[in-house]
Symmetry: D2
Subunit: 318 residues, 4 copies
């Protein structure tokens, strides 16, 4: 059975028709206006219609960038869209009209969708207990326990980015201080890189050059590029980032004990430059190390399409 | 069907015959020598024999104070007993001889056993997603997700006490720094109380009196007693402890999203003096507060027998 | 002998003629354009000329908002003006022409100037060892040791706001993390108040009202106003701020051991609402408490004019 | 003029006759019983008598291991001797009888004495503003400002080891948490090394060997020895220690702005293995780096005799 997966972002929608082996057989993209809730919903409905025109669809999975309720229907809260207790499933269902007849529609958190895709078809194939970290600008997560997605009581489990790792630490957009996201994310990497431009100008010449001479233009991929070239400061920045990823993952592991930690998102492009310190940080902080097996840490394999694939599969199978 | 639950501690074994409603119908205690592994096992076998003499037993659950493998048979590591990769189930089974025929024997972590008991028959009845914190000298945990005990890949999930809450924080017996256990446990309460005797002697007169004039004799229950009398310093100490419990629980909630946090162990005797600040700390740190339901925090209801009841029930039913 | 004191701010210059008892006998203000270094200097020269027209001047003290070199002539760095290794004294001297003949001109850090004024004529009269904390948007400091202003080897002593109090803590404008300024300043107060509007909306109604309904308009004095009315959240925010002030001051006291800590700047308007928790935080953290006298903590008495008075006096007497 | 310097330790007294160039012309040692205050004092008197028998003495400086009052006569508190508000000068003077006639006797903190010696005759010659760190089991300090020893209002300045560097950090013997001493001392080095034996046994084989196979026997000098041999774990441990030394020194530098940081005490034996990371930590954390000169960090040059030399010189000259 085909299912549609829709990955709803702040500025664009990506959607695809996904078969039972996790393959995308058709794909669409659409720009949206994040400030206009109706336009976003309208975009979702349109891509579904368009994809359903050419394929027989049995289920639709909507991956939303925020907190999704336990009903798998309501978006409780999104930082980047004006949705609060928003009945996304009902709205989409209504607008789809007869097209929705007999079609199972579910709403999922986008990181959960991506994590599920990696578990079913990607880096997590073959394990039963997995932690996905999606490290882009922010830090999202998904947890699979004994082959089942962990949603939690209220639907908001696996918000790993908001585990506090430093009391009175860096201010987080969520209103709290010291959230893991502020230490293990692209935003953290850029913040520390910009600080180095101030504090360590002699060693930051390559970074400044890659930023076109303007510290404000520095972006995460430039740090990765410099690190690949061997730039010592950039390597140090990735090492620090990796260490925070690994050390935080050790705290999550103390709670859910996964067999595998999969690292996805744009930051994962740094590959071993990031994974090596992440593994070191993880092992150094792992409770009862030496008396337990140590989880592996690997890079995600499905790239940006994980959200589409996972949302579709969750709608179909779970 | 009756099951035996055996709660193996550092210095004693407590065991009981438990019926399907979680009632203990017979009970035994035995002192042990923690340094002598064989004597501990021998004690386990003896109490099982003795209880089986008067009751027909279908299952035996052994609650061990340490890391238990995913096989529910091996003790990977215990801080207080000399067990490392120790085949507890096989040893007990062999010594029980024919008595073990047809009897399911499982080994469980003791906090897991206690948490399961609270979930099935105690403070957690009626919820599906629960976090138990056992706060005695140390801090143990158990997690129930959608009605199932979370054991993890290697069997060592829910070791919440070793989530790091303060980088470079208090040294933990586990060899790491800043583990939650060093902030949310009886040991933490006593450490801070002793520090107050040094730093704040004018306000510590009642505590010193309860300790018989000797700071080294100060114990957690004395702090609770002073707090109940209204002693301002003792109240402050419990408030600080409660805050750490609640704030840490908010981090765990960011990961597993429970409906209920149950607080057991000796420290829970402080009741509302502890729960009030724990609730405040929890709510203050809860991610997306205001956009999600807030888990309840309650005291455990089964007391010291939770380990026996939970071990027996897990052996029988899971 | 009269001396002129000039307090150079980011957006304005305040200047006065100061007599030997620290009294301002004439006063001027001038707006400036912080982005235009020449205009700022021109303003300084103008106010000096104008004040010198009516009074015989023996010395000129220039209080600059930044790092001043040990030569008391060069501004090494200012965050809010484009001065880097800037020869402020030489420039002003040259532009003053013959007016500068026989007139001692010195450049001082503005917090140092304010601290000196409090020491000589304000809250610090009668003590020999004093710490001034100027708590406005940021956190500045001045230290007097045995009756002498502490300038340090390079002229940049008493930059207390950049003592690190939380490793990996809040990002500071200086490029580092966890500086005391990020916990003990008006900026910290407003940051925490805004976070409370997000995390604790039920208790934040009065603060939101004072901010005219817009969280972005919330200012420190509104928090102080609400606290004076008895608003529990505002009181809590000031208590937290006061605690950080006191605890940080205890660390400074471990190093310089002052008899008195004077708290000035706009935040000091909160008076005892701030000083009480500051004293508690200070005493709780004070090393060897009980075996040493405890420094007093008092509010500054000279208000905004301290910079003028101190700069003038330093130019004349030191 | 000759002066006697007496360095009073927990278990022994070392004393010497010191000339005006800081040379020790005669020297004595005596074991003491730290639990017996009278015996310690008696030992002090005896060594003074003995040294005075062969040399004409103009002054006596007593370096005490604790807090010394501003009167330079009273020991306010010592952790290792039973002295509380103890009139050490008066007692010694009385017992010396006529020998004390015309002899100036002063009591100084032992780290202050050592710092003064380094300033006058050792690594600090030629600078006016200096920070000494004495890093043995604990962390002591001395500060020289513009050529004068900083004693502070109550006599207890330069207790740098009790500046708080990690809120809720490692428990300190002083009753507080997170004191710098718990991160930058021999005790910290050994604590972390022992933790590595637990957490990182594969890399800790050389350390365990040097400890004779017993983790409890591990000592700081063994870590230094392993590091000199190139052992990666030991090098890492010294790097971490050095980083904490440097980062804390940057906080002290934000307050007193020294030209030179001198590192003495047993830990300084590690030399560049420690100084390199200390310099890096210092520069990384230095406020306004790039806009100010950077203090040097050097090893102390007078060794264990600094206390004797400094106490004698302070008694004679200050």
């Amino acid at each position: 059975m085909y299912a549609v997966g829709v990955d709803i972002g702040g500025t664009k929608i990506a959607a695809g028709v996904v078969d039972e082996d996790g393959r995308i057989v058709a794909k669409l993209r659409r720009k949206t206006d994040a400030s206009d809730s109706a336009s976003v919903e309208h975009g979702v409905v349109e891509v579904c219609r368009e994809l359903a025109a050419d394929h027989e669809i049995g289920a639709i999975g909507l991956a939303a960038p925020g907190y999704v309720g336990a009903d798998q229907a309501t978006v409780l809260f999104t930082p980047n869209l004006p949705w609060r207790d928003h009945p996304l499933r009902a709205n989409v269902q209504r607008q789809l009209g007869s097209l929705a007849d007999g079609v199972r529609i579910v709403v999922e958190n986008d990181a959960n969708a991506a994590g599920w895709a990696e578990f079913r078809f990607g880096a997590g194939r073959g394990v039963r207990d997995m932690l996905l970290l999606t490290i882009g600008t922010g830090l999202g997560g998904a947890i699979v326990i004994d082959g089942r997605l962990l949603r939690g009581w209220a639907g908001v489990a696996a918000e790993v980015g908001h585990m506090r790792v430093v009391p009175d630490g860096h201010a987080c957009g969520c209103g709290h201080d010291g959230c893991w996201e502020q230490y293990a994310s692209g935003r953290a990497l850029v913040r520390e890189a910009k600080a180095a431009l101030v504090n360590d100008p002699d060693r930051a010449t390559r970074l400044l050059e890659l930023a076109g001479g303007d510290p404000n233009h520095l972006k995460g991929p430039q740090v990765t590029k410099a690190a690949r070239e061997g730039d010592p400061l950039a390597l140090e920045l990735l090492t620090t980032l990796g260490r925070w990823i690994g050390e935080g993952a050790a705290s999550v592991a103390a709670i859910v004990d996964p067999a595998l930690v999969v690292i996805g998102g744009g930051v994962a492009d740094a590959g071993e430059l990031l994974l090596k310190p992440a593994r070191e940080g993880f092992e150094n902080q792992l409770s009862a190390r030496g008396h337990r097996p140590v989880a592996e840490i690997a890079v995600a394999s499905l790239g940006n399409e994980a959200g589409i694939v996972g949302a579709a599969d969750l709608a179909r199978t779970v």
